[in-house]
Protein backbone atom coordinates (compact mmCIF):
# COMPACT_ATOMS: atom_id res chain seq x y z
CA UNK A 1 0.00 0.00 0.00
CA UNK A 2 1.86 3.07 -1.19
CA UNK A 3 0.43 6.54 -0.62
CA UNK A 4 -3.08 7.61 -1.54
CA UNK A 5 -2.77 6.63 -5.21
CA UNK A 6 -4.52 3.38 -4.48
CA UNK A 7 -8.12 4.44 -4.24
CA UNK A 8 -9.24 0.90 -3.65
CA UNK A 9 -7.07 -1.88 -2.28
CA UNK A 10 -8.59 -5.35 -2.18
CA UNK A 11 -6.18 -7.34 -0.11
CA UNK A 12 -6.47 -11.10 0.29
CA UNK A 13 -10.24 -11.05 0.61
CA UNK A 14 -11.94 -14.36 1.36
CA UNK A 15 -15.57 -15.05 2.12
CA UNK A 16 -17.10 -18.26 3.38
CA UNK A 17 -20.82 -18.63 3.92
CA UNK A 18 -21.68 -20.80 6.90
CA UNK A 19 -23.34 -24.05 6.11
CA UNK A 20 -23.00 -27.79 6.30
CA UNK A 21 -19.68 -29.40 5.31
CA UNK A 22 -17.75 -26.32 6.41
CA UNK A 23 -19.80 -23.89 4.36
CA UNK A 24 -19.47 -22.46 0.89
CA UNK A 25 -16.35 -20.60 -0.17
CA UNK A 26 -17.58 -17.68 -2.25
CA UNK A 27 -14.26 -15.83 -2.50
CA UNK A 28 -10.73 -17.08 -2.00
CA UNK A 29 -7.84 -14.68 -1.52
CA UNK A 30 -8.95 -11.98 -3.94
CA UNK A 31 -6.43 -9.15 -4.34
CA UNK A 32 -6.19 -6.19 -6.72
CA UNK A 33 -5.77 -2.42 -6.58
CA UNK A 34 -7.59 0.39 -8.29
CA UNK A 35 -5.69 3.61 -8.94
CA UNK A 36 -7.18 7.04 -8.45
CA UNK A 37 -9.35 8.00 -11.42
CA UNK A 38 -9.17 4.55 -12.95
CA UNK A 39 -12.09 2.71 -14.52
CA UNK A 40 -11.92 -0.96 -13.57
CA UNK A 41 -14.42 -3.65 -14.52
CA UNK A 42 -14.85 -6.92 -12.68
CA UNK A 43 -15.96 -9.64 -15.06
CA UNK A 44 -16.73 -13.28 -14.55
CA UNK A 45 -19.31 -16.00 -15.05
CA UNK A 46 -22.14 -16.43 -12.59
CA UNK A 47 -20.96 -18.04 -9.38
CA UNK A 48 -17.57 -16.32 -9.47
CA UNK A 49 -18.51 -14.21 -6.46
CA UNK A 50 -18.45 -10.85 -8.18
CA UNK A 51 -21.65 -9.66 -6.53
CA UNK A 52 -20.34 -10.84 -3.15
CA UNK A 53 -17.16 -8.90 -3.83
CA UNK A 54 -19.24 -5.85 -4.78
CA UNK A 55 -21.14 -6.05 -1.51
CA UNK A 56 -17.95 -6.48 0.51
CA UNK A 57 -16.23 -3.52 -1.14
CA UNK A 58 -19.41 -1.47 -0.58
CA UNK A 59 -19.36 -2.35 3.10
CA UNK A 60 -22.74 -4.05 2.80
CA UNK A 61 -21.45 -7.47 3.83
CA UNK A 62 -18.64 -8.55 6.15
CA UNK A 63 -15.68 -10.51 4.82
CA UNK A 64 -14.26 -13.64 6.37
CA UNK A 65 -10.61 -12.67 6.06
CA UNK A 66 -8.48 -10.09 4.33
CA UNK A 67 -9.16 -6.39 4.04
CA UNK A 68 -10.59 -3.77 1.71
CA UNK A 69 -9.16 -0.25 2.00
CA UNK A 70 -10.57 2.91 0.46
CA UNK A 71 -7.91 5.63 0.23
CA UNK A 72 -6.00 3.69 2.88
CA UNK A 73 -8.92 3.36 5.31
CA UNK A 74 -10.26 -0.15 6.02
CA UNK A 75 -13.90 -0.65 5.02
CA UNK A 76 -16.09 -1.39 8.05
CA UNK A 77 -19.48 -0.44 6.62
CA UNK A 78 -21.15 1.66 3.96
CA UNK A 79 -19.40 4.97 3.52
CA UNK A 80 -20.30 8.21 1.76
CA UNK A 81 -16.83 8.04 0.14
CA UNK A 82 -18.22 5.31 -2.04
CA UNK A 83 -21.34 5.80 -4.13
CA UNK A 84 -23.22 2.62 -4.91
CA UNK A 85 -25.32 2.00 -8.02
CA UNK A 86 -27.43 -1.16 -8.14
CA UNK A 87 -28.68 -3.17 -11.08
CA UNK A 88 -32.29 -2.86 -9.94
CA UNK A 89 -31.88 0.90 -9.24
CA UNK A 90 -33.55 0.77 -5.81
CA UNK A 91 -34.81 4.32 -6.18
CA UNK A 92 -37.03 5.45 -3.32
CA UNK A 93 -40.48 5.27 -4.91
CA UNK A 94 -41.98 7.77 -2.47
CA UNK A 95 -39.55 10.47 -3.54
CA UNK A 96 -39.48 12.38 -6.79
CA UNK A 97 -36.40 12.32 -9.01
CA UNK A 98 -35.30 15.51 -7.29
CA UNK A 99 -35.97 14.00 -3.86
CA UNK A 100 -33.98 10.87 -4.68
CA UNK A 101 -30.98 12.89 -5.83
CA UNK A 102 -31.24 15.11 -2.74
CA UNK A 103 -31.38 12.14 -0.33
CA UNK A 104 -27.68 11.90 0.46
CA UNK A 105 -27.30 15.67 0.56
CA UNK A 106 -29.92 15.86 3.31
CA UNK A 107 -27.53 13.98 5.58
CA UNK A 108 -24.96 16.74 5.21
CA UNK A 109 -24.73 20.19 6.70
CA UNK A 110 -25.83 22.04 3.62
CA UNK A 111 -28.24 24.94 3.45
CA UNK A 112 -31.28 24.49 1.24
CA UNK A 113 -29.91 26.74 -1.48
CA UNK A 114 -26.65 24.85 -1.83
CA UNK A 115 -28.53 21.57 -1.83
CA UNK A 116 -30.89 22.65 -4.56
CA UNK A 117 -28.01 23.85 -6.64
CA UNK A 118 -26.18 20.56 -6.27
CA UNK A 119 -29.31 18.63 -7.22
CA UNK A 120 -29.74 20.83 -10.29
CA UNK A 121 -26.11 20.18 -11.30
CA UNK A 122 -26.61 16.45 -10.98
CA UNK A 123 -29.86 16.47 -12.95
CA UNK A 124 -28.09 18.46 -15.63
CA UNK A 125 -25.23 15.95 -15.63
CA UNK A 126 -27.58 13.05 -16.37
CA UNK A 127 -29.98 15.08 -18.52
CA UNK A 128 -33.09 14.67 -16.38
CA UNK A 129 -33.99 18.29 -15.55
CA UNK A 130 -37.36 17.87 -17.25
CA UNK A 131 -38.23 14.94 -14.98
CA UNK A 132 -37.17 16.49 -11.68
CA UNK A 133 -40.68 16.29 -10.25
CA UNK A 134 -41.63 12.87 -11.61
CA UNK A 135 -41.89 9.82 -9.41
CA UNK A 136 -39.73 6.80 -10.29
CA UNK A 137 -42.70 4.65 -11.28
CA UNK A 138 -43.20 6.75 -14.41
CA UNK A 139 -39.61 6.47 -15.66
CA UNK A 140 -38.03 4.04 -18.11
CA UNK A 141 -35.23 1.74 -16.95
CA UNK A 142 -32.57 3.94 -18.52
CA UNK A 143 -33.94 7.04 -16.83
CA UNK A 144 -34.18 5.25 -13.51
CA UNK A 145 -30.53 4.31 -13.69
CA UNK A 146 -29.57 7.89 -14.58
CA UNK A 147 -31.32 8.91 -11.37
CA UNK A 148 -29.45 6.14 -9.54
CA UNK A 149 -26.14 7.49 -10.82
CA UNK A 150 -27.06 11.10 -10.02
CA UNK A 151 -28.13 10.08 -6.52
CA UNK A 152 -24.83 8.30 -5.91
CA UNK A 153 -22.74 11.14 -7.33
CA UNK A 154 -24.59 13.94 -5.54
CA UNK A 155 -22.64 13.49 -2.31
CA UNK A 156 -19.42 13.63 -4.32
CA UNK A 157 -17.93 10.24 -3.40
CA UNK A 158 -14.37 9.45 -4.48
CA UNK A 159 -15.42 6.11 -5.85
CA UNK A 160 -18.42 4.92 -7.84
CA UNK A 161 -19.19 1.24 -7.26
CA UNK A 162 -21.63 -0.22 -9.76
CA UNK A 163 -23.18 -3.70 -9.90
CA UNK A 164 -24.37 -4.56 -13.40
CA UNK A 165 -26.03 -1.15 -13.53
CA UNK A 166 -27.18 -1.51 -17.12
CA UNK A 167 -28.20 -5.16 -16.90
CA UNK A 168 -31.90 -4.33 -16.92
CA UNK A 169 -32.08 -1.96 -19.90
CA UNK A 170 -32.34 -2.72 -23.61
CA UNK A 171 -29.20 -2.90 -25.77
CA UNK A 172 -29.70 0.47 -27.43
CA UNK A 173 -30.21 2.32 -24.16
CA UNK A 174 -27.24 0.45 -22.73
CA UNK A 175 -24.80 1.72 -25.33
CA UNK A 176 -26.14 5.24 -24.86
CA UNK A 177 -25.64 4.90 -21.10
CA UNK A 178 -22.09 3.62 -21.70
CA UNK A 179 -21.25 6.81 -23.56
CA UNK A 180 -22.90 8.91 -20.86
CA UNK A 181 -21.12 7.12 -18.05
CA UNK A 182 -17.75 7.57 -19.74
CA UNK A 183 -18.39 11.27 -20.21
CA UNK A 184 -19.49 11.60 -16.57
CA UNK A 185 -16.37 9.72 -15.53
CA UNK A 186 -14.14 12.08 -17.54
CA UNK A 187 -15.96 15.13 -16.26
CA UNK A 188 -15.98 14.16 -12.58
CA UNK A 189 -12.63 12.27 -12.53
CA UNK A 190 -14.11 9.65 -10.22
CA UNK A 191 -12.66 6.20 -9.69
CA UNK A 192 -15.11 3.66 -11.06
CA UNK A 193 -15.42 0.02 -10.09
CA UNK A 194 -17.93 -1.68 -12.33
CA UNK A 195 -19.18 -5.26 -11.97
CA UNK A 196 -20.59 -7.00 -15.04
CA UNK A 197 -20.89 -10.38 -16.72
CA UNK A 198 -20.92 -8.77 -20.16
CA UNK A 199 -17.42 -8.89 -21.70
CA UNK A 200 -18.34 -6.43 -24.49
CA UNK A 201 -19.44 -3.96 -21.86
CA UNK A 202 -16.24 -4.39 -19.87
CA UNK A 203 -14.02 -3.88 -22.93
CA UNK A 204 -16.08 -0.83 -23.94
CA UNK A 205 -15.62 0.85 -20.59
CA UNK A 206 -12.59 -0.30 -18.64
CA UNK A 207 -8.97 0.74 -18.31
CA UNK A 208 -8.38 -2.64 -16.74
CA UNK A 209 -10.50 -5.74 -16.40
CA UNK A 210 -10.33 -8.02 -13.38
CA UNK A 211 -11.34 -11.42 -14.74
CA UNK A 212 -12.67 -13.78 -12.09
CA UNK A 213 -13.24 -17.51 -12.10
CA UNK A 214 -15.71 -19.51 -10.03
CA UNK A 215 -15.71 -22.16 -7.27
CA UNK A 216 -14.27 -20.57 -5.24
CA UNK A 217 -14.34 -17.03 -6.67
CA UNK A 218 -10.84 -15.79 -7.32
CA UNK A 219 -8.91 -13.52 -9.67
CA UNK A 220 -7.90 -15.32 -12.81
CA UNK A 221 -6.12 -12.50 -14.59
CA UNK A 222 -6.06 -8.72 -14.72
CA UNK A 223 -6.22 -7.50 -18.30
CA UNK A 224 -5.10 -4.03 -19.47
CA UNK A 225 -7.34 -2.59 -22.13
CA UNK A 226 -5.08 -0.42 -24.28
CA UNK A 227 -7.66 0.89 -26.70
CA UNK A 228 -8.37 4.52 -27.48
CA UNK A 229 -11.76 5.89 -26.56
CA UNK A 230 -14.38 6.10 -27.91
CA UNK A 231 -14.14 2.41 -28.65
CA UNK A 232 -15.96 0.92 -31.60
CA UNK A 233 -17.23 -2.61 -31.27
CA UNK A 234 -16.55 -3.12 -34.96
CA UNK A 235 -12.79 -2.43 -34.59
CA UNK A 236 -10.55 -5.42 -34.98
CA UNK A 237 -8.54 -4.59 -31.86
CA UNK A 238 -11.76 -4.38 -29.86
CA UNK A 239 -12.90 -7.76 -31.15
CA UNK A 240 -9.51 -9.30 -30.32
CA UNK A 241 -9.64 -7.94 -26.81
CA UNK A 242 -13.16 -9.32 -26.32
CA UNK A 243 -12.09 -12.69 -27.72
CA UNK A 244 -9.15 -12.80 -25.36
CA UNK A 245 -11.26 -12.12 -22.26
CA UNK A 246 -13.97 -14.54 -23.40
CA UNK A 247 -11.26 -17.14 -23.87
CA UNK A 248 -10.13 -16.66 -20.27
CA UNK A 249 -13.65 -17.02 -18.94
CA UNK A 250 -14.46 -20.18 -20.89
CA UNK A 251 -11.25 -21.90 -19.86
Amino acid sequence: MSGSDRRVAVDGVSKTYDGEDGGVRALADVSFDVEDGEFVCIVGPSGCGKTTLFRIIGGLEPLTSGEVRLSGEPVTGPSPDLGIVFQEYHLFPWRTVRGNVAFGLEQQDLDAGAREQRVAEMLDLVGLEAFADSYPKGLSGGMKQRVGIARALAVDPEILLMDEPFGSVDAQTRSMLHAELLSIWRETEKTVLFVTHDVDEAVTLADRIVVMEPSPGRVQEIVDVDLDRPRERTDEAFAEQVEYVRGLISE
Binding site: L60, G83, F86, P93, W94, G104
Partner: protein, 261 residues
Protein backbone atom coordinates in the same frame (compact mmCIF):
# COMPACT_ATOMS: atom_id res chain seq x y z
CA UNK B 1 -53.41 0.33 -3.17
CA UNK B 2 -53.68 0.28 -6.90
CA UNK B 3 -56.71 -1.84 -7.57
CA UNK B 4 -57.90 -2.77 -10.98
CA UNK B 5 -60.94 -0.58 -10.48
CA UNK B 6 -59.04 2.62 -9.81
CA UNK B 7 -56.77 1.86 -12.75
CA UNK B 8 -59.77 1.47 -14.99
CA UNK B 9 -61.21 4.63 -13.50
CA UNK B 10 -58.22 6.67 -14.59
CA UNK B 11 -57.97 4.97 -17.97
CA UNK B 12 -61.57 5.30 -18.94
CA UNK B 13 -62.02 8.76 -17.45
CA UNK B 14 -65.30 10.45 -16.53
CA UNK B 15 -67.58 8.25 -18.64
CA UNK B 16 -66.56 5.18 -16.76
CA UNK B 17 -67.07 6.91 -13.39
CA UNK B 18 -70.50 8.14 -14.43
CA UNK B 19 -71.52 4.67 -15.54
CA UNK B 20 -70.34 3.27 -12.23
CA UNK B 21 -72.33 5.86 -10.32
CA UNK B 22 -75.44 5.19 -12.39
CA UNK B 23 -75.16 1.45 -11.77
CA UNK B 24 -74.63 2.06 -8.07
CA UNK B 25 -77.73 4.23 -7.91
CA UNK B 26 -79.65 1.45 -9.66
CA UNK B 27 -78.57 -0.99 -6.95
CA UNK B 28 -79.73 1.34 -4.18
CA UNK B 29 -83.10 1.99 -5.82
CA UNK B 30 -83.66 -1.75 -6.39
CA UNK B 31 -82.84 -2.46 -2.75
CA UNK B 32 -85.27 0.23 -1.51
CA UNK B 33 -87.98 -1.15 -3.81
CA UNK B 34 -87.60 -4.68 -2.48
CA UNK B 35 -87.64 -3.30 1.07
CA UNK B 36 -90.73 -1.21 0.35
CA UNK B 37 -92.62 -4.15 -1.14
CA UNK B 38 -91.57 -6.43 1.72
CA UNK B 39 -92.85 -3.87 4.21
CA UNK B 40 -96.36 -4.09 2.67
CA UNK B 41 -96.62 -7.67 3.82
CA UNK B 42 -95.24 -7.17 7.32
CA UNK B 43 -96.49 -5.20 10.30
CA UNK B 44 -94.54 -1.98 11.00
CA UNK B 45 -93.08 -3.32 14.27
CA UNK B 46 -91.38 -6.11 12.26
CA UNK B 47 -90.37 -4.28 9.12
CA UNK B 48 -91.16 -0.57 8.79
CA UNK B 49 -91.13 0.95 5.31
CA UNK B 50 -88.14 2.97 4.11
CA UNK B 51 -90.26 6.10 4.34
CA UNK B 52 -91.14 5.40 8.00
CA UNK B 53 -87.46 4.94 8.85
CA UNK B 54 -86.60 8.17 7.06
CA UNK B 55 -89.27 9.96 9.07
CA UNK B 56 -87.93 8.67 12.37
CA UNK B 57 -84.44 9.66 11.21
CA UNK B 58 -85.58 13.23 10.57
CA UNK B 59 -87.45 13.41 13.88
CA UNK B 60 -84.43 12.15 15.86
CA UNK B 61 -82.17 14.52 13.95
CA UNK B 62 -84.43 17.55 14.52
CA UNK B 63 -84.89 16.81 18.22
CA UNK B 64 -81.13 16.87 18.70
CA UNK B 65 -81.12 13.31 20.05
CA UNK B 66 -78.91 12.08 17.22
CA UNK B 67 -76.41 14.87 17.62
CA UNK B 68 -76.20 14.23 21.37
CA UNK B 69 -75.65 10.51 20.82
CA UNK B 70 -73.11 11.17 18.08
CA UNK B 71 -71.16 13.61 20.24
CA UNK B 72 -71.13 11.08 23.08
CA UNK B 73 -69.86 8.30 20.79
CA UNK B 74 -67.16 10.50 19.32
CA UNK B 75 -66.07 11.42 22.86
CA UNK B 76 -64.77 7.88 23.38
CA UNK B 77 -64.31 6.79 19.77
CA UNK B 78 -61.83 9.55 18.89
CA UNK B 79 -59.39 9.24 21.83
CA UNK B 80 -59.66 5.43 21.76
CA UNK B 81 -58.84 5.31 18.07
CA UNK B 82 -56.02 7.84 18.32
CA UNK B 83 -54.35 6.13 21.28
CA UNK B 84 -54.79 2.58 19.91
CA UNK B 85 -53.58 3.59 16.46
CA UNK B 86 -50.53 5.41 17.78
CA UNK B 87 -49.50 2.59 20.11
CA UNK B 88 -50.19 -0.07 17.47
CA UNK B 89 -48.05 1.65 14.86
CA UNK B 90 -45.27 2.42 17.33
CA UNK B 91 -45.08 -1.16 18.56
CA UNK B 92 -45.51 -2.70 15.12
CA UNK B 93 -42.69 -0.61 13.68
CA UNK B 94 -40.41 -1.28 16.65
CA UNK B 95 -40.95 -5.03 16.61
CA UNK B 96 -40.59 -5.42 12.87
CA UNK B 97 -37.43 -3.30 12.83
CA UNK B 98 -35.68 -4.65 15.91
CA UNK B 99 -34.94 -8.37 16.18
CA UNK B 100 -34.48 -7.96 19.92
CA UNK B 101 -37.92 -6.40 20.44
CA UNK B 102 -39.43 -9.01 18.12
CA UNK B 103 -37.95 -11.90 20.08
CA UNK B 104 -38.99 -10.46 23.44
CA UNK B 105 -42.55 -9.57 22.52
CA UNK B 106 -43.58 -12.29 20.08
CA UNK B 107 -44.77 -14.80 22.73
CA UNK B 108 -46.84 -12.08 24.41
CA UNK B 109 -48.35 -11.04 21.11
CA UNK B 110 -49.26 -14.64 20.29
CA UNK B 111 -51.12 -14.98 23.58
CA UNK B 112 -52.81 -11.59 23.63
CA UNK B 113 -53.74 -11.39 19.96
CA UNK B 114 -56.73 -13.80 20.05
CA UNK B 115 -58.42 -11.88 22.88
CA UNK B 116 -61.38 -10.08 21.28
CA UNK B 117 -61.86 -6.44 22.35
CA UNK B 118 -65.30 -7.45 23.68
CA UNK B 119 -63.65 -9.74 26.20
CA UNK B 120 -61.97 -6.68 27.65
CA UNK B 121 -65.26 -5.20 28.81
CA UNK B 122 -64.73 -6.79 32.21
CA UNK B 123 -61.34 -5.14 32.56
CA UNK B 124 -62.69 -1.84 31.30
CA UNK B 125 -65.38 -1.90 34.00
CA UNK B 126 -63.06 -3.08 36.77
CA UNK B 127 -60.12 -0.82 35.99
CA UNK B 128 -61.71 2.26 34.55
CA UNK B 129 -65.45 2.27 35.03
CA UNK B 130 -68.63 2.70 33.06
CA UNK B 131 -67.59 5.89 31.38
CA UNK B 132 -66.09 7.30 28.22
CA UNK B 133 -62.60 6.29 29.29
CA UNK B 134 -63.75 2.67 29.76
CA UNK B 135 -65.32 2.63 26.30
CA UNK B 136 -62.24 4.31 24.82
CA UNK B 137 -60.15 1.49 26.29
CA UNK B 138 -62.08 -1.15 24.35
CA UNK B 139 -61.91 0.88 21.16
CA UNK B 140 -58.19 1.44 21.64
CA UNK B 141 -57.67 -2.32 21.96
CA UNK B 142 -59.47 -2.80 18.65
CA UNK B 143 -57.43 -0.11 16.89
CA UNK B 144 -54.21 -1.40 18.39
CA UNK B 145 -54.10 -4.82 16.74
CA UNK B 146 -55.18 -3.69 13.31
CA UNK B 147 -52.51 -1.03 13.26
CA UNK B 148 -49.93 -3.23 14.91
CA UNK B 149 -50.19 -5.89 12.21
CA UNK B 150 -50.39 -3.38 9.36
CA UNK B 151 -47.28 -1.54 10.56
CA UNK B 152 -45.44 -4.79 11.29
CA UNK B 153 -46.17 -6.14 7.82
CA UNK B 154 -45.23 -2.87 6.17
CA UNK B 155 -41.91 -2.57 7.95
CA UNK B 156 -41.14 -6.26 7.46
CA UNK B 157 -41.59 -5.73 3.73
CA UNK B 158 -39.17 -2.82 3.41
CA UNK B 159 -36.57 -3.99 0.88
CA UNK B 160 -33.17 -4.49 2.51
CA UNK B 161 -31.66 -2.68 -0.48
CA UNK B 162 -33.36 0.58 0.49
CA UNK B 163 -31.48 0.42 3.78
CA UNK B 164 -28.24 -0.35 1.92
CA UNK B 165 -28.74 2.69 -0.31
CA UNK B 166 -29.52 4.94 2.64
CA UNK B 167 -26.47 3.73 4.57
CA UNK B 168 -24.22 4.29 1.59
CA UNK B 169 -25.60 7.83 1.38
CA UNK B 170 -24.69 8.65 4.94
CA UNK B 171 -27.67 7.63 7.10
CA UNK B 172 -25.85 5.99 10.01
CA UNK B 173 -28.36 5.73 12.88
CA UNK B 174 -31.34 3.44 13.41
CA UNK B 175 -33.53 6.45 14.08
CA UNK B 176 -32.38 8.01 10.81
CA UNK B 177 -33.11 4.82 8.87
CA UNK B 178 -36.56 4.50 10.42
CA UNK B 179 -37.42 8.11 9.73
CA UNK B 180 -35.97 8.43 6.24
CA UNK B 181 -36.54 4.95 4.82
CA UNK B 182 -38.58 2.53 6.92
CA UNK B 183 -41.58 4.75 7.65
CA UNK B 184 -41.99 6.24 4.18
CA UNK B 185 -41.52 2.82 2.60
CA UNK B 186 -44.08 1.20 4.91
CA UNK B 187 -46.50 4.12 4.68
CA UNK B 188 -48.96 2.45 2.26
CA UNK B 189 -49.53 -0.44 4.67
CA UNK B 190 -49.60 1.85 7.69
CA UNK B 191 -52.22 4.10 6.13
CA UNK B 192 -54.30 1.10 5.08
CA UNK B 193 -54.13 0.00 8.73
CA UNK B 194 -55.22 3.41 9.96
CA UNK B 195 -58.11 3.43 7.51
CA UNK B 196 -59.26 -0.08 8.41
CA UNK B 197 -58.87 0.71 12.11
CA UNK B 198 -60.94 3.89 11.94
CA UNK B 199 -63.83 1.99 10.35
CA UNK B 200 -63.53 -1.04 12.62
CA UNK B 201 -63.45 1.16 15.73
CA UNK B 202 -66.52 3.02 14.61
CA UNK B 203 -68.32 -0.32 14.52
CA UNK B 204 -66.80 -1.21 17.89
CA UNK B 205 -68.69 1.63 19.58
CA UNK B 206 -71.71 -0.70 19.58
CA UNK B 207 -69.77 -3.18 21.70
CA UNK B 208 -68.14 -0.52 23.83
CA UNK B 209 -71.48 1.07 24.65
CA UNK B 210 -73.02 -2.30 25.48
CA UNK B 211 -72.03 -1.76 29.11
CA UNK B 212 -74.05 1.43 29.42
CA UNK B 213 -71.91 4.27 28.14
CA UNK B 214 -74.02 6.78 26.19
CA UNK B 215 -73.74 7.09 22.42
CA UNK B 216 -75.17 5.92 19.11
CA UNK B 217 -74.77 2.28 20.10
CA UNK B 218 -76.62 2.93 23.34
CA UNK B 219 -79.53 4.52 21.43
CA UNK B 220 -79.60 1.42 19.24
CA UNK B 221 -79.96 -0.83 22.29
CA UNK B 222 -82.64 1.33 23.85
CA UNK B 223 -84.58 1.34 20.60
CA UNK B 224 -84.34 -2.42 20.19
CA UNK B 225 -85.41 -2.98 23.79
CA UNK B 226 -88.46 -0.83 23.04
CA UNK B 227 -89.04 -2.93 19.91
CA UNK B 228 -88.82 0.27 17.81
CA UNK B 229 -87.41 -1.31 14.68
CA UNK B 230 -87.79 1.99 12.84
CA UNK B 231 -85.54 3.77 15.37
CA UNK B 232 -83.05 0.89 15.28
CA UNK B 233 -82.84 1.25 11.52
CA UNK B 234 -82.59 5.04 11.76
CA UNK B 235 -79.56 4.75 14.06
CA UNK B 236 -78.00 2.06 11.90
CA UNK B 237 -78.40 4.47 9.01
CA UNK B 238 -76.70 7.18 11.06
CA UNK B 239 -73.76 4.88 11.81
CA UNK B 240 -73.41 4.00 8.15
CA UNK B 241 -73.52 7.63 7.08
CA UNK B 242 -70.87 8.60 9.60
CA UNK B 243 -68.71 5.68 8.44
CA UNK B 244 -69.14 6.73 4.83
CA UNK B 245 -68.04 10.29 5.59
CA UNK B 246 -65.07 9.11 7.69
CA UNK B 247 -63.88 6.56 5.17
CA UNK B 248 -64.23 8.92 2.23
CA UNK B 249 -62.22 11.52 4.13
CA UNK B 250 -59.44 9.10 5.04
CA UNK B 251 -59.40 7.71 1.51
CA UNK B 252 -58.85 11.12 0.01
CA UNK B 253 -55.99 11.76 2.43
CA UNK B 254 -54.61 8.32 1.52
CA UNK B 255 -54.71 9.10 -2.19
CA UNK B 256 -52.98 12.42 -1.66
CA UNK B 257 -50.23 11.08 0.60
CA UNK B 258 -49.59 8.06 -1.62
CA UNK B 259 -49.62 9.91 -4.95
CA UNK B 260 -46.27 8.29 -5.74
CA UNK B 261 -47.77 4.83 -6.03
Amino acid sequence: MSTLETDLGTDFGGDYDRRRLARGALGVVAFLLVWEVASWFNPAYVLPSPRAVAEVFVVELRSGAMLTALTASVTHWLPGTVVGTTLGIALGVTMAYSDLADDVATPLVRVLRPVPPLALIGFAIAWIGLNHAGAAFIIAAGAFWINYYAAYGGVDGVPEEFLDVAKSLGVDTDLGLVRKVVLPSALPEIITGIRTGIGRCWMLIIAAELMGVPGVGRELYTASQNLSVDAVLAYILLMSLVYLVLDTGVKSVQNRVLAWQ
